[in-house]
């Protein structure tokens, strides 16, 4: 499986934003063996980037690679949904 390219859109340094960042980092570290690229975008600072990508809700995680393009909205606290959305299967060695 190729490298995961992800963008996470958040609004400012709210607890929810921080929760989302922590959750996605944890999942990626664990499930992709560190093979991932994550860019965090604060839409308050870069609203045009949110406009370009037509982001409505925050936090929104967008998976650019591998295809298909997919979005997950929320603070990513439901791990199962995140894994499903990223086409990841739980690492066997962590079982």
């Amino acid at each position: 499986m190729g490298k995961h390219t992800l963008k996470l859109y958040v609004t400012g340094q709210t607890p929810r934003s921080q929760r989302a960042i922590a959750n996605i980092r944890e999942i990626c570290e664990k499930e992709t063996d560190g093979e991932y690229e994550l860019i965090v975008i604060d839409v308050l600072e870069n609203p045009q980037l949110a406009e370009d990508e037509k982001i409505i809700a925050t936090p929104t995680l967008v998976k650019f690679l591998p295809p298909p393009l997919r979005r997950i909205i929320g603070d990513l606290s439901n791990q199962e949904k995140v894994l499903l959305g990223l086409d990841l299967f739980p690492n066997k060695k962590n079982r």
Binding site: K54, I55, A57, T58, R70, R71, D75, K81
Partner: protein, 503 residues
């Protein structure tokens, strides 16, 4: 306690939508969000777009359009027919889209809690980018299909509306309704934009579509109440017809003008008033069109300009009829004394007719307007729509200080009244009746001035004849009664003398 100044200073923003600023007493409440609710096809998107377009065209405002339903590409294409070149305005930095339209094929999963902070950030960014004064959001229902948790959408919209208020932006939010008369909007949208609500309708009434707009509430400020008809015209957009809001403040002239027939003038006590509405009622073939022709000829002779709206006969037929009475319409047109507008009533709705007629009057600037016949328009509308049309037209004509001559055809040959008369008789200044009178197996024609506001007039019912030179009014009918009711009774000469002796 709230500071006092906030209570009395509800300023309004002129929208520029024709008629709307009149019924709303000045426009939309400034710095507030107004909900525009309507069923599918009720012209919500046109209203939302026109509000922005007029802002750019008339007031040089910058605007933001937040689209939840159609893509910006579709909106640009759909609105070009109204003459609104959105692409050009975007290039000039006057118009900005915030595109929230659904993306086909995009998979969205939900995991944990979220809000619509990104949408708010984008809207604020768009407003700040162009320093926008006006904003439209169209239509809110579509976002409920993208974001499944409707309680989040509701609370976030409340936050957006609040933010718009802080930014001083005057906004329109459109929302769907499922029925014309029922809940204000789907998803309980009105619960968070409660202050200002407008309802647009597209009602099927007696097999005809009728569009209306109603300001349900404008908190803390005055507006006209009830439904107002409106129409949508290519190249222009929505035009609201503020009928019942018309004020009776036109001036009254004592100047008389000729009806084009000297005997008729005498019956009216010296001619028609300069700014009056005259209704001529009669059965078919009774000389109504002749009176119109004489009226126009009289005006042309006096170097006036006359406008003739013909709804019963075509142009060629009118020319032929007039020449039969020695009036050359074509020559009058060449001399710019006359303009003939001949159309079939069925070609457009009544609201559209009203607007075209107003435009023709504004363009040609006549001193005399004739409509032959008004009752032909009855058949394309409901009674209510017809009444509004007549009121709208007569008040417009009166404001222009133009004399209007309308004809109405009675449904029966002898006596009787038509729908036209029932709705127009109280707003006309003069009513002239043309009646058939049956006497000893012969048809005679009778004419009478039933009403002439502000003047003495002949109370007789006179006999008249029509020949190649026009209408000739003769002596009163003396030994006959019941002409108006359609049941003429002939009295003997001695009976007439006996009654005379009684008084």
């Amino acid at each position: 306690m709230e500071p006092k100044e906030q209570i009395n200073t509800m300023i309004k923003l002129e929208t520029g939508i024709p008629g709307f600023d009149f019924i709303s007493h000045g426009g939309l409440p400034m710095g507030r969000t107004t909900l525009v609710a309507g069923t599918s096809g009720s012209a919500k998107t046109v209203f939302a777009t026109q509000y922005l377009a007029e802002g750019i065209i008339q007031f040089d405002d910058s605007v933001v359009f937040v689209t939840f339903e159609e893509s910006p590409k579709d909106i640009r294409r759909n609105m070009i027919g109204f003459g609104w070149d959105i692409q050009k305005w975007e290039d000039e930095g006057k118009w900005t889209f915030v595109d929230v339209s659904p993306e086909p094929g995009m998979e969205v999963l939900e995991s944990g809690s979220y809000d619509l902070g990104a949408l708010l950030a984008r809207i604020e960014h768009a407003i700040n980018k162009v320093n926008a004064k006006r904003l439209s959001m169209d239509s809110i229902g579509a976002i409920f299909s993208q974001i499944t948790d409707s309680s989040i959408v509701r609370s976030e919209l409340f936050r957006i509306v609040y933010a718009l208020k802080e930014l001083g932006v005057t906004a329109i939010l459109t929302a769907e309704r499922t029925q014309e008369y029922g809940d204000i909007a789907r998803y309980g949208v009105e619960e968070f934009v409660t202050d200002n609500v407008i309802v647009v309708r597209n009602v099927l009434e007696q097999e005809k579509r009728r569009r209306t707009i109603e300001i349900l509430k404008f908190r803390g400020t005055m507006h006209q109440k009830g439904e107002y008809p409106f129409t949508i015209i290519p190249g222009e957009g929505i035009i609201i017809i503020p009928l019942s809001a018309i004020e009776l403040k036109q001036k009254s002239s004592t100047l008389r003008i000729s009806s084009g027939n000297a005997e008729m003038d005498k019956m009216c006590g010296g001619g028609f008033f300069r700014d009056s509405i005259i209704l001529i009622s009669g059965a078919t073939g009774n000389g109504k069109t002749l009176m119109v022709t004489e009226f126009i000829n009289g005006g042309a002779k006096n170097k006036e300009r006359c406008l003739l709206f013909a709804f019963e006969e075509g142009r060629e037929q009118l020319l032929r009829n007039a020449s039969g009475w020695g009036v050359d319409y074509e020559k009058l047109e060449e001399e710019n004394r006359l303009k003939i507008v001949a159309v079939y009533p069925e070609v457009a709705g009544l609201e559209d007719h009203l607007i075209t007629m107003k435009k023709e009057i504004d363009k040609f600037k006549p001193t005399r307007v004739a409509i032959d016949s008004l009752s032909a328009l009855e058949r394309i509308s409901s009674i209510r729509g017809f009444r509004e049309f007549v009121i709208g037209l007569t008040s417009f004509i009166k404001h222009k200080e133009v004399v209007g001559l309308f004809t109405a055809t009675t449904p029966t040959l002898l006596g009787g009244t038509s729908v036209t008369e029932a709705h127009i008789s109280t707003i006309t200044d003069s009513i002239i009746l043309l009646r058939y009178v049956e006497m000893f197996g012969e048809m005679h024609r009778g004419i009478t001035v039933l009403k002439m506001r502000g003047s003495m007039h002949d109370k007789d019912i006179r006999e008249y004849t029509i020949d190649g030179t026009g209408m000739h009014i003769g002596k009163p009918f003396r030994n006959i009664s019941g002409i108006l009711s359609g049941n003429p009774m002939i009295s003997t000469a001695s009976e007439v003398d006996r009654i005379k002796d009684l008084f």
